[in-house]
């Protein structure tokens, strides 16, 4: 059911510039052309009774409750399916209409349980409301006839229950799965009295194609589909709007509460990024915040082989500060640093980088964007002038050609993928460049025009061959280039890509993609109308990640696909606040707002505001911190909300570096993999326990609102502030809004941002300043941020990671819908029901050669290490390529990934690792050692009374 506070206007809004004026019950109203009579009446404050209609879905006209009288029209038309017309005169209430409505309700109630008082929907049931509205007083049919009251519940899904005995067959759930989610897992089977909602071929929800997004639950007007949390806890009493802490879509939610307890998370219909939709993670998987693994007391220890000791906050902070000071005194100013969190708020990451620069006195600060989209920051800054995507998500609705490169949005950005599918189903073309057959290639009512199934590691070869076609076949938008771009760089680039070595025919051997497919895709992108590129980590996590980003920007500029709606270069940022973390100056070489630390004017600005001298030299990136630790130069690290021991490549290298340090401070919710090497554990706060802002992949800054007190006593920003004061750099913020005010005062792209302004507008896409007082949905309109767009030469350089007889396969990695990144949150929820282990996807040919069948244990060996996973034999991967996810630490996916990285940013080359796969009968040596080490570390916790849940 819908949220407890939102109004439903019956049918979706229409955006026509043309309007019509009609009269409803004697009152005039003017509405956009195409608006339904029902919605027009609702806008007047007149609620026409309804059951099958909801403003999140197109009108259906089945319940027959919303009938009205319209002068000049026969009978009683349904107001939901009747568009308002100029001069129309509508009567919504009279005796005839009232009798019809009461009759309809009589029929519904004759086949419905009368257990309202014990029903989960009691007090918030649309059927109950309509019975009251129509004045139903009796059911003349009685209750002895055939009915559905004994239909059995489906409790297969861990998050919601389907009770068909309460179903009124309004089809809202079926339509929601179709229109909003695009999975089409539900249907109405049979007909007439036999009509019932069916998941797939009438199987339990968990066995169907249902992805548990919850759209059907939200759409249901009765208790037929109800959240289990609602069934258990009852109706919420208040709600607060906040932002999801999972992926970079940044869905807006209403946290519905009873006191400090979350009853359910309901997507906010006014959410600018998600428009009332969500996925299984954001809507349902919040149980990790109160999981029994949650640690709420600070702990310290001298050595990682010592037991943890619970201490007071004062002692923990004091110990951490004294250790960092001792290390600097002994090893030098540059021997410590910090890692900001892409899970924490903008205000929190700003404080961590401020602590490092002003408190520690160096620039050794970095963020997890290092291992995902740092090439985006570099590549787009070089070409377009700003380290961010160019559009908002809604822009996809005006795209004619959607080009998805190295991304799997149905798994990684599911709510945006649903929106993309809505556009694809209305006729947009689709090109997919991916080594795997991702779901988007062929999904209900969507099929890619071209699937460029390239070999991992050959992205730049592909993009150069696409560019070759565009240039040599005269498909360049010459006017756009001459007006908007640096012509000298364009001429150089044109000569470069025209070289026959970059032709699709020449590159076919390298990429494995047939030349004619490349030519077809290039022509489609260049001439098919508005062309929009969406890309992910399959672009950036390569040794030529930055080069590929530049190649994408080159393509977009050459075809004039930048600077308006429907086009653009759209990096699909993965985490809830990785964009924000970068914006806030988490990189070792840049202050907030992407300004280099060597820029004297900028540095002076921050020195003036922060009251301290700042270093003008870039600091250490995360991979360089590891190198420096192993060299003995880097000894102390403050890690906020990141788990580098699980997420970074070449695990054995990372853990060796961690072991070489003398003080590691981990601030997190759980004892994660990195915390097993830590000396100080500071219990952090979840997104439910703090105020602040997140910035999503659209550059959209949205509010995060505290709905409960921090379980450990402090929000993350307060902990950083305590630490800063303890090391001698004073911080005295009373509220995160003050931190944002400071950010706005120092950052030209943020000058118009404040909590008050965000509340007023709902969200803000930066830049937000005097030139763009309400933010910037589309960038580079009229002019690129750097002035003229710059073309850069993107020569294909093969990766160092070569396959050979010993390592003949290429491993590439990715994500799955139900789990999130290292799994710290989702592994602690019921989402494990969908994915409880990382598996190795292997093509049937490769499996057969090795005697591997589905479910076998497979040893995967690379130049870096070895691990063991169970096999999933699948044709989604091509021969010669294997694939796995990295959501479970015990699977050791990063034991086998290497130190190879992007030349510009050191973003790890997760997507290309040469491996061999062999059928085995036991875990790897690393897994055995990991299990022993983890058990020992958990044992060292046993005497500390630090958990939230006893």
């Amino acid at each position: 059911m819908q949220s407890i506070v939102e109004q439903d206007l019956g049918t979706p809004a229409r955006l026509s510039a043309k309007t019509v004026t009609l009269t409803i019950d004697g009152e005039e109203i003017t509405v956009p052309e195409g608006t339904s009579v029902m919605r027009a009446a609702a806008l007047l404050g007149s609620k026409i009774p309804k059951l099958c209609a909801t403003d999140q879905l197109e009108a259906f006209g089945s319940c027959r409750l919303c009938l009205v009288q319209i002068e000049g029209m026969k009978g009683l038309p349904a107001s939901c399916t009747t568009p308002a017309a100029q001069g129309m005169k509508v009567t919504t209430q009279n005796k005839q209409i009232a009798d019809v409505r009461r009759g309809v309700m009589e029929l519904y109630i004759s086949d419905h349980p009368l257990d309202c008082l014990t029903c989960p929907a009691n007090g918030h049931c649309e059927l109950q409301d309509m019975a009251g509205v129509v004045g139903l007083r009796e059911v003349r049919y009685g209750y002895e006839g055939d009915n559905h009251l004994t239909a059995e519940k489906d409790t297969s899904n861990p998050y919601f229950t389907f009770d068909p005995s309460k179903c009124i067959v309004c089809s809202r759930c079926v339509r929601a799965c179709d229109e909003q989610q695009g999975t089409l897992a539900l249907t109405i089977q049979s007909r007439g009295f036999g009509s019932t909602v069916s998941a797939s071929q009438d199987v339990p929800f968990m066995d169907s194609e249902c992805v548990s997004c919850g759209a059907c639950v939200q759409a249901c007007p009765t208790a037929t589909l109800s959240e289990n949390s609602l069934i258990e806890k009852g109706q919420a009493e208040h709600s607060l709007v906040t932002t999801c802490a999972y992926c970079g879509v940044g869905c807006s939610f209403r946290a519905e509460m009873k006191g400090e307890e979350v009853v359910r998370m309901v997507p906010n219909k006014d959410g600018h990024a998600n428009h009332g939709h969500s996925c299984v993670k954001g809507r349902f998987a919040i149980g990790y915040a109160t999981h029994s693994d949650r640690i709420v007391k600070p702990m310290i220890r001298a050595k990682i082989t010592d037991a943890w000791r619970e201490v007071s906050w004062e002692d923990a902070i004091g110990y951490a500060a004294s250790e960092m000071q001792r290390i600097q005194a002994k090893y030098g100013r540059d021997s410590i640093g910090g890692i900001t969190s892409s899970r924490c708020t903008n205000e929190e990451t700003y404080l961590v980088q401020k602590l490092v620069r002003a408190g520690f006195g160096n620039n050794n600060v970095d963020t997890c964007a290092r291992v995902c989209h740092s090439p985006t920051g570099y590549g787009l800054k070089q070409t377009l002038g700003e380290s961010a995507g160019t559009q908002n998500f809604d822009s996809v609705m005006k795209a004619d050609v959607i080009f998805v490169i190295g991304a799997n949005p149905t798994d990684g950005h599911p709510v945006f993928a649903s929106q993309m599918k809505r556009r694809l189903r209305t006729g947009a073309h689709l090109i997919v460049a991916d080594p795997r057959s991702i779901d988007l290639v062929r999904t209900p009512h969507v099929a890619a025009d071209y699937h460029l199934k390239l070999r991992p590691g050959t992205n730049v070869a592909l993009v150069n061959s696409l560019a070759h076609v565009i240039v040599t076949e005269g498909l360049v938008k010459e006017d756009f280039v001459r007006e908007r771009c640096d012509v000298a760089s364009f001429d150089q680039w044109r000569a470069f890509v025209s070289d026959p070595k970059n032709s699709p025919e020449a590159m076919e051997e390298v990429t494995g993609v047939p030349a004619m497919s490349v030519r077809g895709a290039a022509r489609l992108y260049a001439t098919g109308g508005n062309g929009a590129i969406y890309y992910g980590l399959g672009v950036t996590e390569h040794s030529q990640g930055s080069t590929m980003v530049m190649g994408i920007a080159n393509l977009a500029m050459a075809t004039g696909n930048v600077g308006r709606e429907g086009v653009g270069v759209n990096p699909l940022r993965g985490q809830n606040n990785v964009q924000g973390s970068c914006d806030m100056g988490s990189f070792p070489h840049e202050f907030p707002g992407y300004r280099h630390v060597s820029n004297e004017a900028v540095r002076a600005l921050f020195e003036g505001a922060w009251g301290v001298s700042l270093l003008g030299e870039p600091g250490l990136r995360i991979p360089n911190m590891f190198e420096a630790a192993l060299d003995g130069d880097f000894k102390g690290l403050y890690i906020e909300g990141e788990d580098i021991a699980q997420s970074d490549p070449n695990t054995q290298h990372v853990t060796a570096a961690l072991e070489a340090m003398e003080c590691i401070i981990v601030q997190d919710l759980f004892l994660n993999e990195s915390a097993k090497f830590a000396h100080v554990f500071l219990p952090g706060s979840s997104f439910l326990e703090k105020d602040g802002t997140f910035t999503n992949a659209e550059r959209r800054i949205s509010r995060v609102r505290k709905v409960m007190q921090p379980k450990a006593g402090y929000a993350d920003w307060e902990i950083t502030q305590l630490l800063s004061n303890a090391v001698g750099y004073p911080m005295n913020y009373a509220h995160p809004s003050e931190i944002m005010d400071e950010i706005a005062g120092l950052t030209p792209t943020f000058t118009g941002v404040s909590f008050a302004r965000i509340d007023e507008l709902g969200s803000i896409q930066w830049p937000c300043n005097a030139q763009h007082p309400e933010g910037t949905p589309t960038m580079h309109v009229g002019e690129f941020v750097r002035g003229k767009g710059r073309f850069l030469l993107t020569e294909y350089v093969p990766t160092h990671e070569k396959v050979n007889a010993k390592f003949p396969l290429i491993l590439t990695t990715g994500r799955i819908l139900s789990q999130y990144n290292v799994g710290a949150q989702t592994r602690r929820t019921e989402n494990n029901r969908w994915h409880d282990e990382d598996r190795l996807e292997i093509h049937p040919n490769d499996a057969e050669e090795r005697g591997i069948v589905e479910g076998d244990w497979v040893g995967i060996t690379s130049r870096a290490g070895e691990t063991v996973l169970r096999a999933r034999v699948s044709e989604r991967v091509q021969p010669g390529v294997v694939y796995t996810t990295f959501h479970f630490p015990e699977s050791g996916a990063n034991v086998i990934t290497t130190d190879n990285s992007d030349w510009a940013t050191n973003c790890p080359e997760y997507k290309v690792t040469a491996v061999q796969a062999t059928r085995v009968g036991q875990p790897s040596e690393w897994q055995r050692r990991y299990r022993e080490f983890s058990e020992a570390q958990e044992d060292l916790l046993k005497n500390a009374d630090v958990f939230a849940v006893k």
């Binding site: 540059d334 150089q492 470069f496 040794s543 930055s546 080069t547 070792p588 070489h589 300004r595 280099h596 060597s598 820029n599 004297e600 003008g616 030299e617 870039p618 600091g619 250490l620 990136r621 360089n624 190198e627 420096a628 192993l630 060299d631 130069d633 070449n650 054995q652 290298h653 853990t655 060796a656 570096a657 070489a660 030469l793 993107t794 020569e795 350089v797 160092h800 040893g859 060996t861 130049r863 870096a864 290490g865 070895e866 130190d899 030349w903 510009a904 940013t905 050191n906 085995v920 790897s924 040596e925």
Partner: protein
Amino acid sequence: METHTVSGSNHSASGNDHLVQMANDIGNFFRASPQREDAIAGIANHIASFWTKRMREKLMARLEQDEHGLDELPLEALKRLSRSTAAPAR
């Protein structure tokens, strides 16, 4: 099952070789520039902008002992960097 050397355990010898590799990789991008001077300037600017002073010093120290392994363009870029005193302004 065959075991592998943990890269961290053999770090000292490989750490500076890693810097050589990084410099060569940067050079591989800029070598596409038609003008040699642009390539050298691009490499130098990139290293100055993104490498710490310690990393640059380590690589220079390594080159003073042995230039082997470093490609021509990044070698020239590093020599120019060592002659200048400040990171280029951005």
